[in-house]
Symmetry: D2
Subunit: 385 residues, 4 copies
């Protein structure tokens, strides 16, 4: 297919944050083109966004239902995929409709509101044969891919301990009461679901551990808290995890760690060495052992694994960041779409899937159960293939 | 103008590095569209690049002369500007032709081969009234803008000492002898000009100091060296500078600092405090004084100056990098172009100009003169307005 | 008292580690003098140590009992205090005997084997009126004192979340099976007590939180693990804590975090800001908020609190380390001893006490109880005054 | 000699800084004992210092001349060495007198006021056969020894470029005018000599390069400046150096780099790799190359060279600092003294010598000459053996 992929966006209108990130990620490599959208539940705001994005007004819609209906019947310049960047409660219905209309889907996380919805989505992806990519964007960082390679190639030995954390401070006050749009929907059960911190950032922790180590959870003990008075959902979560095979884990995420920005950090300790990656300075992976000097792997160098080298755009020492990592999810999703559309599905597409999404939703609900019961609970889970 | 700006690229074909960066920078914000190009002096390679970029084959040219000639006579879908990403020796002729054909220009640095060429270009920019933006991309980093604000608002007092350095190690061996394309042209006098290290990275140092402090040089003592045997141009330069008004400076750049990637660093010490910015971790500016704790300013926060806040796309803690800074040059250039084309030129466009380019070329030649004479030389210079 | 304080050491013979640290700490400021010792349970090794330390052979003993007995009856050059640096199981009997013989005591941690012993020791300190200082040495770091001041003066607001961690990797293999002396006793229940990781490093975490924040625990959930096969005691512990007043905590310590050295770190998040201190780079405290740049407080500067300034020996920028912090415990203990001996006990001596020791022993036993029960347990405790 | 070495101190009375450091350094390992002193040119202040240090009043003197005279005729408890910690102008006379009286000497830097004095001192050391150790204390850091090993064993290849810097900010104001004692003498030509920044910190840079690389200077270009109005001596110096064999260097030291504390840093780039050591975080050496991950060597580990391991007192991860490095100079000087006194001089004592001191004095005077002439000058020099 010698043309850019065409896509439509649902959500991402005025005041949104993540929609603009998706658009930059899709635009970065010149291989995707935004051609349509339903950017807001307000027709006026949707139209305004369309104008700002230089879109054909005929393809800017007042509702996602109308958009999918009308785009589905276009022929020559039909969209290839739908990008879903709405508040959480819309992910499931939009994704289902898009898949059933024959479109591929890129969807923000957490994937759905309930475990049932997430499993239904897995099955629909399978039955339609469409590509579904979930934007657990941190796995798009080249040095996360290097970390995964180091762990899975045995460089640090058998995994024994994992510490993953995602402290933020932006909800240290009751920001949602001020009308700030991001805070408002993320802490509103009707739009965000049963969880705030876990859904917004805890699932990133869970997914990152799974991506890097491949480990599955066995049991979990969670302690959720709502620290800021008046908040409807939890804003701080500390979780102890036993993984299958014996590794021990600590996972915590927090929206009330005042002064922290997005300090997502993963440390994996094996029988031979430990490694560390930090999102706020993401171009490095550190490997520590007592036998030799600490090694700092740096993005863009020839000594890295091919998965890390392949996910890089510019030479070492010129920092890449969040948008580039995000764009890697789009690139891999696009590569899978082109393959599927050519009748040659690929097996090595390196993007999070509907199964990853289901795992995340199960994680949220299991943590809630444990915290409510104040006890260890079974955390094992296999999403439908 | 309710459409993306349209541009053509000269250079940036297979094997090039900086062309792809320019394309990502222009694409990032969705406000510019690549529609034409002369990507290589080989017609075949140019066509290949055009195909990879999904361009209309009719607008992919075998030479830049043909391109400018043919694009100049288009009407409805005419390009707005030309992006020049060739080896140095072509910057001047392409830029002159593009300006004279009525196009705006974005051009890589160093701007020209000689001081005369650079001054001619300044005058042509003035006479044509076109926008000319030079990609001294490091000034596009938000925290460099914050550093500029801190210095120029007096937060560190009167500037006394400046240390700027740009160590790289990639030319620690005679890489140009292996056929590596980047090394080959950058160390070839016919294509790079009289200088390698100074032209490629030293001018970034010079420009960064001027941008942040506004200071002009008075005299300079340079010690250039060619460390790797068989190399035609200098690969290491140490320069002492006296600025007008009394500040003292050290500027060094090196391509043989083995193991260094792109560790561009600027430190400015004033009568009250000192500040530091490092390109490899660019989302921070540090201000140190003996009277209070060191302050670490972080990109994306509300306490920053509007110039730093305005140059940011995503929230604090999600790192931005090289491409985003580069894109800021394009954004500002684009803003200026739209204003000029609307008959309302703006005075606050924040991108490097032809005058900045002339200053850089003069800097290179003055350093060579000093090193050859082994003495202090007059370094004062005012480019034509 | 115009002379150095005189002391005797129990333990610290050939192959020991912490004894030498105590001797350096006591020597650093020239105000204490080692004059006697029972350095080993082997008479020969004790004598060897005495010779290496240039001691009078008459005051080098084959057993601590003999030492206390004979030193107690000296008159003119009698020791002022006993420094106890033995494996854990001897702390209690030696300390009891020394106090009852009228000596002040400096003792390594954990203080005793059981809660009962620790409470008995508290009461004996009170009844004898002697000074008892426990070497929770990390509280001797100047910047820990600054952190304490910042928290307790309200600079970060009301404390909401505490994360304290102490990962080490030195027991990643079954080192105790090789005969390595430190590993052997620390993982031997007969000499170390009921715990390895908690006793050796977990109590430092617990003490550090208490010192910096003043908070008391309310309930605790612990998950202890023995990761290395064949080990008798736990080598990894993850603990969730609810503090009185509502703060939430995570405390973890580990001896199997391969590649880690002594990366003790405390982060305290309040309603206004968060702070961080790291033992491996101990001359700094970082305070982060979203309202202003991160502040890095640096040891040795005039803007610090008097407690931090007073605990410093050399100017800022010349790093102080572990020994200097340790010496601060000795200095404060010595100051208290001189006051008591002058009949003027002081109330502001800044060293850990027997009560701190009892709190630590209670912490260990409570964590064991919780881990065994796999449930939250009451963690509140008040040691005898 | 089964006793601690005995020493007397000249200087280091009330208000002094470096005297206390010397005393801590000598005390740290329990192998040296301060027994006498002439701490001030004021008899009263000297006596006060003696009392604070618990010295026998009979051995506390009102002048260094009296001290050397009287100590020289003692027999049984005679001092072994003299430690000189006065302002610069007294180093030479006191050292000469001490050596001639048969004492070993530890002396602060810069060694003398003139090249002639320094050469006379070299010859006197040789003729008396006494040990003379100059406290270029930074060479006492274990990781500086590791850096030396890495360079001299060829790990980074042939040395090509050296950047050494020592920025301080403490003289950003005219502190000497306020009566601050340290500032007063260090910027007073009568007591400090011809130089302030070069003598106080520049010589440390020069010595550190020589220690780590073994290179000798060939020619030098210096640019000295007096930035703060009213100051008598230079407070900022930038120097370019050509070393014998072709390596190129930048050396700068500054007392007006506002906000800097003691940020002494050395970077050495070879044909294969580069290395970096920073005094403010001294427990690490970083080695960078493009062929493999950056390696961070950490103090206290078994993979280090024996010279680095031997200079360490405590395990890795427990930071050592300035005093410990300083104490290593004393330890090595003491080891040499014991050997000489036993009639078995050693050749591997690892402390700076009188020749190092002479090299430093020559460096200062050469830099002044170059700066005055505004030209390159011959910098080659061989001190008398």
């Amino acid at each position: 297919m010698n043309r850019p992929l065409r896509y439509a966006m649902v959500g991402g209108g005025p005041g949104a944050f993540i929609g603009a990130v998706h658009r930059m990620a899709a635009a970065l490599d010149g291989s995707m083109q935004l051609v349509a959208g339903a950017f807001s539940s307000s027709a006026e705001k949707s139209a305004e966004a369309g104008r700002d994005l230089f879109l054909d007004p005929d393809r800017v819609y007042a509702s996602w239902k109308e958009m999918i209906e009308k785009e589905a019947v276009r022929t020559e310049d039909r969209i290839d995929f739908v990008s879903i960047v709405t508040p959480n409660f819309l992910h499931h219905p939009v994704a289902m409709a898009a898949l059933e209309a024959g479109f591929h889907v890129v969807c923000d996380k957490p994937m759905t509101m309930t475990v049932e919805e997430s499993e239904e989505l897995c099955r629909t992806v399978a039955s339609t044969g469409r590509v579904f990519a979930l934007t657990h964007n941190y796995t798009g960082y080249p040095m996360v891919k290097q970390a995964k390679h180091l762990v899975q190639s045995g460089a640090i030995g058998e995994v024994r301990k994992i510490v993953v954390e995602y402290p933020q401070g932006w909800l240290s006050t009751l920001l949602e009461a001020t009308g700030q749009k991001q805070a408002a929907w993320r802490s509103d059960p009707a739009r965000a679901g049963v969880s705030s911190a876990l859904g917004d950032i805890g699932t990133h922790c869970e997914n990152l551990v799974h991506y890097v180590t491949g480990l599955e959870m066995e049991e979990m003990f969670a302690d959720l808290g709502t620290v800021v008075e008046g908040r409807a959902l939890e804003d701080d979560a500390s979780i102890l995890i036993h993984y299958k095979g014996g590794a021990r884990g600590i996972l915590y995420c927090s929206q009330i760690s005042a002064g922290e920005e997005n300090d997502l950090t993963i440390r994996v300790y094996g029988s031979k060495a430990g490694l560390e990656w930090k999102q706020e300075n993401p171009n490095y992976v550190r490997v520590k052992s007592s036998d030799e000097p600490e090694k700092v792997y740096k993005r863009g160098n020839g000594y890295l694994h091919s998965s890390a080298q392949g996910a890089t755009r510019i030479p070492s020492g010129h920092p890449e960041g969040f948008v580039e990592a995000f764009a890697n999810i789009y690139l891999e999703a696009g590569r899978a779409m082109r393959a599927v559309d050519a009748g040659q599905p690929i097996s090595d597409a390196d993007h999070p899937t509907a199964q990853d999404g289901a795992r995340g939703i199960h994680f949220i609900h299991t943590a809630l159960e444990s915290s409510n019961k104040r006890s260890w609970v079974d955390a094992s889970y296999s999403p439908p293939e």
